[in-house]
Amino acid sequence: MGTFIAIVLAAVLTNNFITAKTYGICPFLGVSKKTSSAAGMGIAVTLVMVLATLVTYPIYTYVMIPLKIEFLEIIFFIFIIASLVQMLEKIIQKVSPTLYGAMGIYLPLITTNCAVLGVTELVIGDMSKIIGEAATMNIGWAVLYALFAGVGFTLVMIIMSGMREKLNYYKMPKALSGFPIAMVTACFICMAFMVFSYISL
């Protein structure tokens, strides 16, 4: 139970992917102009993260370690993620054309999203890197971590998109509009999330 709470808290609040690890910044800055598309992107990334971990973790533990080909992990993982994204794209196109239209160019870009490759790389490492204390890693914890890392990602995406929707009403200098003001906004979100690092279990 302790490990469960530690993983959930670390993934969503204390070691949030965007505010503490700075993974997945491209969609965070690119798709956060409207709350609806930000939420859609967050859910898509969460889905890909869980599916990717579900596939890569067993392959790494039960195939690559016995065969001693751990050094090929980058090539293996990126291929698995790329094919998963392709599959998801086809499914979303079929199920919800509006969501597909909203995400546009960013759906193929989930492949080149650091958050997905980052989570698969993190879970094959040490547990101490994730929650700060030693514990044995297994596929259950790995998938749980991927799921809640995605939830944390979606949470920050939605907060950011709400703030950017409000920012549209203000006039600002040309050099500041667009990315610079979005990054200054992100700075304040990060500072707010830094408070959670005082939580200790």
Binding site: I25, T112, K174, C187
Partner: protein, 215 residues
């Protein structure tokens, strides 16, 4: 010769990957808390980008158009695997400070972006020049921001302690976001101003020439 000058200027200033195109943001924000790791990241990307640009440009007539993205990813992933082994063996300090971001070079948008936008349409030499100048633009941007963050955040420069005054917030991701955003604003402002000045100057010259011809 003019062509290479334009490619170089684009990479360094007008299409600077960090400030103008805002690509490769994850390693930038994650590593500018120390000048050493920021510069190490920049140089690693410079080498990988140049090699991948050259390889993709060499193979551009062989790779079928439909499966080009997977082919590019294989090339880049292989280069990153080599770079990781090389750094682990020869520069372990840098390997430790880059951490997971070393593996994440594979999904760095700059490398795939240049392959897609430049290398598959240009010759090997042009692609190499483009890789070097884009990589240099990235390295310079990261090093400058790394120096700012480290100097004010830790009071040191490349690990050398200079002063005891420090704003610890600047070495956290929040400070990285702040410095990155403000750097983009300053860069865009300066480049815009210089371009406007040049345009006014050339307009003036053109008008004088016209007046002379009319006279």
């Amino acid at each position: 010769m003019n062509k290479y000058k334009k490619i170089t200027l684009d990479g360094l200033i007008f299409q600077n990957p960090t400030f103008m195109l805002v690509l490769g943001t994850c390693p930038t924000l994650g590593l500018i808390n120390s000048a050493f790791s920021a510069m190490g990241m920049g140089l690693t990307v410079l080498v990988i980008l140049t090699l991948s640009n050259m390889l993709i440009s060499l193979l551009r007539k062989i790779i079928p158009n439909e499966v080009r993205i997977p082919c590019y990813i294989v090339i880049i992933a292989t280069l990153v695997t080599f770079a990781r082994m090389f750094l682990q063996k020869f520069i372990p300090d840098l390997y430790d400070s880059l951490g997971t971001f070393l593996a994440l070079i594979v999904v760095n948008c700059i490398i795939l972006g240049r392959a897609e936008a430049f290398a598959n349409k240009h010759t090997v030499l042009e692609s190499a020049v483009d890789g070097i100048s884009q990589g240099l633009g990235f390295t310079l941007a990261l090093t400058i921001m790394g120096i700012i963050c480290e100097f004010f955040g830790k009071g040191s420069l490349f690990g050398l302690q200079i002063m005891s005054f420090k704003i610890a917030m600047l070495t956290s991701p929040a400070g990285a976001f702040l410095i990155y955003g403000l750097s983009i604003a300053v860069f865009v402002y300066v480049v815009d101003g210089v371009q406007r000045m040049l345009r006014v100057k050339s307009n003036k010259l053109a008008r004088e020439n016209m007046l002379k011809e009319a006279a």
